[in-house]
Symmetry: C2
DNA sequence: CAGCCAATAACCCTATCGGGTTACTCGCCG
DNA sequence: CGGCGAGTAACCCGATAGGGTTATTGGCTG
């Protein structure tokens, strides 16, 4: 494990302080090298094209686009890209989407640094790794159906304080159809009413406020 | 500005990676010294008692208690304590409570490191500093009345998908009283219905899900 | 100590929500 | 090419939400 197999790392996160911390952790490892740091999705893609890092650490919340979109862009252009999501966010739906988009791991920022370097090594060796706490959260909702795009759209209007009639007008559909969508949302999320549906959707990362 | 006036700093945050980043930034300044790092509220109090730092950087989300409670504990024991809140959270209510509890500044983790050291110097000189983005968010809701403890309690049950009748039973009060509380909450938050009230309360940091 | 505010409670009334049922039309997948 | 799921829509109906009004109590404050 000498100089010939140095792991070249790219970090993408809009928190400079955290990037600094990651940089220190990477630099403390003789077999790892920090190639560059990006602070948004556009930079992420440009830096990846130019540097072709072995490992990319990416936050989900970026100023210009979702980390998942950035992840997907990179993966369509470079299917062999090994990207690790590193975020504070814990909703199961975000995790699922990240993995579906090709992420090799999903780490929380609260995790100890040694787990980070451990995961970087594992992913570099071609393995996918999900830490136990994230895996547990995933398992909690394993059987649940995902909401359709239309259902999420309706739910966002519900969160905005719109009545069924108002939502109907906004979406150019009948009030009855709105009610059906909300009914399905409540069933899928196991919510007692529209309010709990919104609360659960936010908690699970299906929508933001 | 030589060795006789070194600024001694304590950091309290449950994200090791971020603490690492803060440590690097502090160490890069010749006139600053990182005394210790804590990862929860209990440690914060113990470390403060033992070390009496000039400046304490504290996160709001800690594993054992709210950073505001930790802040208040320290400030009642050491009224001269100069504490800077450093967090990702942006709800105006959290900011207000932190300042009321005696915080000297309220910084977001997304801010550039030089602003952090700048603020540490300002606070050490006895000034209070609120960055423009945080100040703007505060100003947005300047005239708004705060929710009472009881109103927040009711609202949390609303977010949990409980009907007015169920909330009444849970809190041993009449359904009419529950309705009045919710009515007041909606007025104070400018919400159209209970669902939007919950959404706004979460957005503004009045409650978590 | 007078007054105000938070919390409590009851009554009435209408709009809205949410449940059950049935049905049509796409587009997709085997 | 037949079925199946998503989106659309209509009807009925009981339960709930939310608006208006009035009133009592207890604690804090000027």
């Amino acid at each position: 494990m000498s100089e010939k197999c140095v792991i070249r790392v790219l970090t993408v996160d809009d928190h400079p302080l955290l990037r600094e911390g990651i940089a220190m952790v990477i630099k403390s490892q003789p077999d790892m090298e920090l190639l560059a740091e990006g602070s948004n999705g556009k930079e992420a893609l440009e830096l990846f094209r130019r540097l072709r890092p072995d490992i990319t650490l990416m936050d989900l919340r970026l100023p210009d686009m979702s980390g998942i979109d950035a992840l997907a862009s990179i993966r369509t252009e470079f299917p062999e890209a090994r990207i690790i999501i590193l975020t504070t966010f814990e909703g199961d739906v975000e995790v699922r989407r990240a993995l579906k988009a090709g992420a090799y791991s999903y780490l929380l920022k609260s995790m100890p640094p040694k787990d980070l370097i451990e995961t970087i090594r594992q992913v570099h060796a071609g393995k996918k790794r999900i830490p136990p706490d994230v895996a547990n959260r995933l398992a909690e909702y394993l059987g649940d159906e995902a909401l359709s795009a239309r259902e999420i759209e309706v739910l966002k209007h519900v969160a905005g304080g719109n009545s069924n009639r108002e939502i109907a007008k906004l979406l150019f559909i009948s009030e009855e159809t709105v009610k059906i969508h909300i009914k399905h949302v409540m069933e899928k999320l196991n919510a007692n009413d529209r309010t709990e549906a919104v609360a659960i959707a936010v908690r699970r990362g299906i929508m933001q406020l």
